[in-house]
Symmetry: none
Subunit: 282 residues, 2 copies
DNA sequence: CAACCGAAGCATAAATTATTGACCGGCATT
DNA sequence: AATGCCGGTCAATAATTTATGCTTCGGTTG
């Protein structure tokens, strides 16, 4: 039970001095943090031993114990009241706001991608990893995330072909077949060349997975499986940050799912991580 | 700020004994309630004074202050995590946990980089953007973020030279001079070639900014300004995700600061964004 | 190799907390 | 009304806990 509730409930059966202590604690609980039993006694003009006896009567081990408990109680209470206040009066200009916006974008993105889809994508990639190839492409800023994800898949022992120009990718794809997977990253999903590549890949009976904004876009209509990202902001220099965070988060989730998908991919990953560690820190 | 997050974030630059204290506190935070500094010391087989000094180094008034703060943190966590546990078990297995871990890493990273440093870095880059060049290098996975940041600086109209191999970068740097800035990305900060480049750059009177893990590492000692990243997880496939999230968050914050730094960089950015938009969606 | 720096422990001072015993006033019993 | 009991309070002090000064030791720098 909260120490404050307990104090209040017993207040009526207390002696005069005890009641004064009780009142002080109830009204200035937050000050208690910086008060020793002696200081509290001074503040009330009573003896320190009275304070200690007071705490013991209430069932606490002693003064520090009461103090600690009151601290917990305040923390619990502050926790449900203060956040609204804190976010409203956030002095810390951009940093914390940015953080909140990113969280929102990430959460929104998590919500619009059904677990089944994620599961299906993970399985498709895993399958391609066992018996085929994974092709990955992204242009411009999208390339950065394509590159990153490609690297991670490689670490899992999945054969990955990464390109950042359409010509090479077209050439590479000519060896694709059933059981292979193409991952296309395109924020707006309306780059004609990517559309052509996706179509070509489908003709060769490969599975197309797109990662785009959550809009109706040409690329997405070509997909066997479509992952989507949600991120919006009025400020033009903020929006890309949100998009990238949300995208990254989506990919992170996918990656974790792959890692935890059993198999011996886990072991493979560890081995690869170790090997890389050695390479980078000679 | 949560004392536990703070402890975790500084864990890396602690001595052996301090790290043992940190680990104990992180893992047995609830037990702390019944431990005096002496008991804690006994439990770890170290001296009581080490415990007290540990708390003071972290910025607490003393051991009781730490204890009280940890108590608050636990109370807060118990209060909002229990409800979250319910949401976590509604199907979305790993996603929500991952999200929380990422948030923690981002928060810890925000805490260990003083606003002054961030400000100074932003100004250094802005200055170099007006009258000099910004060199950026990162190897392996670090390259991904180096590349991303380089792209963003370009959008702001800042002349940026990005490389992902040491040979080219060395060559490029030979034209560097005072007023230029070198940004080095290196998670562990102990790649000899990067150290050489940084030293060489300093000789040419340029300003070196490093971005590394929050550890004592050779590269960091060469920096005029050092940004640091905190991210930890036992799972080897999670930790990189956290590192990258935290790093990205740090860079996002920096970028926003640059965007909001006045000047006409803002206008420049808008123009560039438009132009790129046209290029990518013909 | 000397000088230095920081980390850790020991011893001890300082502080905080808990207990003891004395005193006082109210109140019931004689 | 006197006596004895009892809860409450406090000052003094014991016990515990925390903080600090000093020393040593291992590693680093010049």
């Amino acid at each position: 039970m909260s120490p404050l509730v307990k104090i209040r409930s017993e207040r009526d059966q207390m002696s005069a001095v005890e009641r004064r202590i009780a009142d002080f604690v109830l009204e200035n609980a937050q000050l208690l943090r910086d008060y020793s039993s002696q200081q509290l006694a001074n503040a009330l003009g009573i003896s320190q031993s009275s304070v200690v006896k007071f705490t013991q009567k209430l069932g606490f081990k002693g003064y520090p114990d009461l103090k600690y408990s009151v601290g917990e109680a305040i923390a619990r209470a502050d926790n449900s009241d203060a956040p609204q206040l804190a976010t409203a009066s956030d002095g810390d200009a951009g940093g914390s706001t940015l953080w909140r916006r990113k969280s929102e974008a990430e959460e929104a993105t998590r919500l619009i991608n059904p677990p089944e889809t994620l599961q299906a994508v993970a399985e498709a990639i895993a399958l391609a990893g066992r018996s085929g190839k994974v092709f990955i492409i992204g242009l411009g800023e999208d390339d950065i995330y394509a590159r990153n994800f490609a690297l991670r898949l490689s670490l899992l022992g999945i054969l990955t072909v990464h390109n950042f120009d359409t010509a090479r990718m077209t050439a590479n794809i000519s060896v694709a077949g059933a059981g292979d997977v193409l991952l296309v990253f395109s924020e707006h999903g309306n780059h004609p060349a990517l559309g052509k590549i996706a179509r070509y890949f489908r003709e060769r009976r490969g599975q197309v997975i797109t990662v785009t904004r959550h809009t109706a876009n040409p690329l997405r209509t070509l997909a066997d499986l479509a992952l989507v990202v949600s991120a919006h902001d009025e400020l033009p220099y903020i929006q890309p940050l949100l998009y990238q965070s949300a995208l990254q988060h989506l990919l992170d989730g996918l990656f974790v799912q792959l890692c935890e998908g059993g198999d011996d991919r886990h072991a493979q990953l560890l081995a690869n991580l170790d090997r890389i560690q050695l390479m980078l820190e000679p």
